[in-house]
């Protein structure tokens, strides 16, 4: 069995599972945020009317709550949702509620690794489609709708159809000017946004072994854009070190068997990778940066669970050090812990000196919520994950997706720019 199959087998108490088997799995961790939380509360209200007991959760210690989409509260309605969420966690005894303005908080998928909330081998579900991100720690992680999350909160289990696995092998390290974001864009361009539909996307090979945990998180994050059920990397010592430095204990490593089977294996040579962008209006609409259309950008946005982890900010700082931005540029670290490190290590000063606006952790404009959404006809280069029509604001705005290196280089020139071509 491969790693996804092994995790699902163990979670469902079976010796063995195969793709397309339906299993009823025990869930280890559950997450909701300020959009899915109120959605779940609504489902609970409906169940209560049907006479179903929703007084207790299956295990409040396994649940955590993030405030990320519309925080710091964007308006009256989102402020009310935050109150609703706080009442919910209080009533159900959920202690892991990361509140803005009260220490560590941030984007849910960032907290999952920054706070070591999920461990290798666990089954983790969340009320958000990018829950796939956390598979980079070697867990089975996937997003669910509100009703399914409500069910898990009450029962601690849910059924899954065991997915087929696509294996993406990266031979050799990526060059310095290429990031994990470029690699996942390349893959989505190759297999299309439907290519991973209800499949596991697993990443391996020497290039992945060389990669930092944060880079692997970027890869798994955007398996969602390929339609995948989950993204996953077999955990190694790097994951153990990463999680134990954040307070996790009892980390055991789980790997696929030697005779693990994959539906299809794709091979890539690290040295051949180039900086890429996804043009409007689909993450599969890929172009090499050096062949990108010459458009006048209005904005560069470095944020989100995809592109505002610590190493993403380091990459942006490498470019912005001693330079000035030519277009509006925003950098929003994905969590307070990252924000703090960026301050301690001098990154914030580099950003502010370059003219960048540094914002608080939030999903912000990635999902068009607030904090710098786009006007009609505005064009943005962004380290985020989706560039559907209107995703970041007005339905007639445009978003190009890129790595933090490319987004920072483009901020300096005002045009889509390969970091190698900066003077």
């Amino acid at each position: 069995m491969n790693i996804t199959e092994k995790i699902l087998a163990r979670a469902s108490g079976r010796q063995r599972v195969s793709p397309d088997d339906v299993v009823f799995a025990n869930v280890d961790k559950v997450m909701v945020h300020d959009v899915s939380g109120p959605g779940v509360i609504k489902v609970f209200d409906k169940l209560k009317k049907q006479g179903i007991n929703v007084d207790k959760l299956w295990d409040p210690t396994k649940v955590w709550v993030a405030e990320d989409h519309f925080v710091p509260s964007a308006d009256k309605v989102s402020a009310e949702n935050i109150v609703k969420l706080s009442n919910f966690t209080k009533n159900y005894g959920i202690e892991k509620h990361f509140k803005y303005g009260m220490g560590q908080y941030g984007i849910c998928h960032t907290l999952s690794h920054e706070e070591a909330l999920v461990l290798p081998g666990e089954v983790y579900v969340g009320g958000d489609s990018h829950t796939n991100t956390t598979g980079a720690l070697g867990s089975f992680a996937c997003g669910l709708g509100h009703t399914d999350v409500a069910y898990v909160l009450l029962n601690g289990k849910i059924w899954f159809k065991v997915p087929q696995t696509l294996y993406f092998k990266l031979n050799g390290k990526l060059p310095d000017h290429v990031m994990a974001k470029d690699f996942i864009l390349k893959i989505i361009g190759d297999i299309t946004t439907e290519g991973g539909a209800y499949k596991a996307m697993q990443f391996g090979g020497s290039g992945i072994n060389e990669m930092s945990v944060e880079s692997r998180l970027t890869l798994c994050n955007m398996t969602t854009e390929a339609g995948a059920k989950n993204g996953i990397v077999e955990p190694d010592q790097k994951v153990v070190d990463y999680l134990s430095s954040r307070g996790a204990t009892n980390i055991s490593l789980i790997k696929g068997d030697d005779d693990a089977e994959y539906e299809k294996i794709y091979e890539y040579e690290g040295s051949e990778m180039e900086p890429l962008i996804a043009k409007p209006f689909s993450p599969e609409n890929i172009s090499i940066v050096r062949e990108a259309p010459s458009v006048e950008l209005n904005k560069s946005y470095i944020g989100s669970c995809t592109g505002a982890k610590y190493e993403d900010l380091v990459a942006a700082a490498k470019i912005l050090k001693g330079r000035t931005v030519k277009i509006r540029t925003e950098i929003l670290p994905a969590s307070i812990s990252i924000y703090k490190r960026a301050m301690e290590d001098g990154l914030l000063k580099i950003f502010l000196d370059a003219g960048v606006t540094v914002g608080p952790p939030t999903c912000g404009a990635c999902c068009g919520a607030h904090m710098g959404v786009l006007a009609k006809d505005e064009i943005c280069i962004s380290t985020t994950n989706r560039n559907f029509p209107g995703r970041m604001g007005h339905v007639d705005s445009q978003t190009y997706l890129s790595s933090p290196l490319v987004a920072a280089a483009s901020a300096v020139t005002g045009k889509i720019t390969d970091p190698r071509d900066l003077k």
Partner: protein, 194 residues
Amino acid sequence: MQSFTKVKTLITPLDKVNVDTDQIVPKQFLKLVQKSGFGKFLFYNWRYDDNEQLKSDFVLNDLKYKNSKILVAGDNFGCGSSREHAVWALQDYGFSVVISTSFADIFYSNCFKNGILPIILDSKTVEKLQQETTEVEVDLKNQIIKTSSQTIPFDIDSHKKKILLEGLDDIAHTLLYEKQISEFEKQSKIPSVL
């Protein structure tokens, strides 16, 4: 949940591919969690202009389709975020069937929790249906779609069919077996993970 057996209406042809959940319900409405009423936000940016007036060139605003319950759209319908509001909006607006060549996984699953029947057909059939100008009948029990000129069979998982026909969502259906479940749980020794 209401049980689903048959619907017979005109088809609303939505000639777009990769319709993501943000096109179905834009993010600004996600903050709202009132029980119903999401229908008015359905395809908001396509239905309304900047002054919140109905756009005459969008298919949903054609009065002909006012009572249509069947939406037929292009590939990869419902991709993007996991927001269940997308399904709530389709249902509240009045749709009970969505037909496409493929659906995003979470959206597909959310449909069955809210009494909407998603049907997957090949692209030729979808194109043909989009041109259908007379009423079409979707018969879940017999798994067929009847147009004026042909009968099209469709596949659906037997469990999912059952819950729609009986008007049970997954949770209500599970509760029918409450006794057996607690019996099983008493005997089963499923180890917890790690």
